[in-house]
Subunit: 143 residues, 2 copies
């Protein structure tokens, strides 16, 4: 076993069900939510309020199993799961970049959530740098 | 248990030991390496060659335990682990953005590796969009 995943907190979002989350390539996520970090991990948030954007790593906890080819919403062609954001992955870990709006003790108010309410959060990391947009090629997604 | 992490492949890098990896905030990672995806997951790479940059999720497999406060290399002050990239995290998952140089079947030649040779890879995701540099605040790291 590589390690034992544990929730460091949970997401509070407006989405009670997965079907309510805007989906598909290019979707802009504009919803606000709160990341509630568990008391036992709260000290790990020291100085996080200085960062404008954060990576959230979280679990696709409503998924079972995986498939190596996935057809994203609105697409007709299947792509390799590692060339998509599809949830049914060998390791069901999701990654979202959010904007940190405010911190209230162990609660982080964030913009850009795309997970259902109650989703277990695995990790929070500072978002430090970007690849210039002009350097990016986006494969089957096009420009 | 949230899920059981498994390696989808392993990183081949020039770094035989952690001490050889350039460290510290602001470090540019210029090393090249190869991500060797296991045969059983190779189909998941379909169409990945169209993307210029990829997220690699991998395991800090040489770490045990975690600490909630971390003092990054070259720093004197401790910060919350979630405001750093420190390896000793509640879930020892690392995130690296690499440039995809070439694909040879189930081997991805990439630029920007910062993990030791033999590191287990958990996931590969397409890097799709960036936050404009002018919108970023980098907390204790400054500009």
């Amino acid at each position: 076993m590589l390690f034992t995943p544990r929730a460091i907190g949970f997401a509070r979002t407006p989405f009670k069900e997965r079907s309510q989350i805007p989906k598909g390539p290019g979707t802009k996520h504009e919803a606000e939510g709160t990341i509630e970090v568990l008391e036992e991990f709260a000290e790990g948030l020291k100085d996080i309020e200085g960062f404008s954007h954060l990576y959230l790593l979280w679990v696709f906890h409503q998924q079972e199993g995986f498939e190596l080819l996935a057809t994203p919403p609105g697409q007709t062609e299947a792509h390799g799961v590692f060339a998509t954001r599809a949830p049914r992955r060998p390791n069901p870990i999701a990654l979202t970049v959010v904007e940190l709006l405010a911190r209230d003790d162990r609660r982080l108010r964030v913009h850009g959530v795309d997970m259902v309410d109650g989703t277990p959060i695995l990790d929070i990391k500072p978002y430090l740098s970007s690849i210039p947009d002009s350097s990016l090629r986006r494969g089957w997604l096009g420009k």
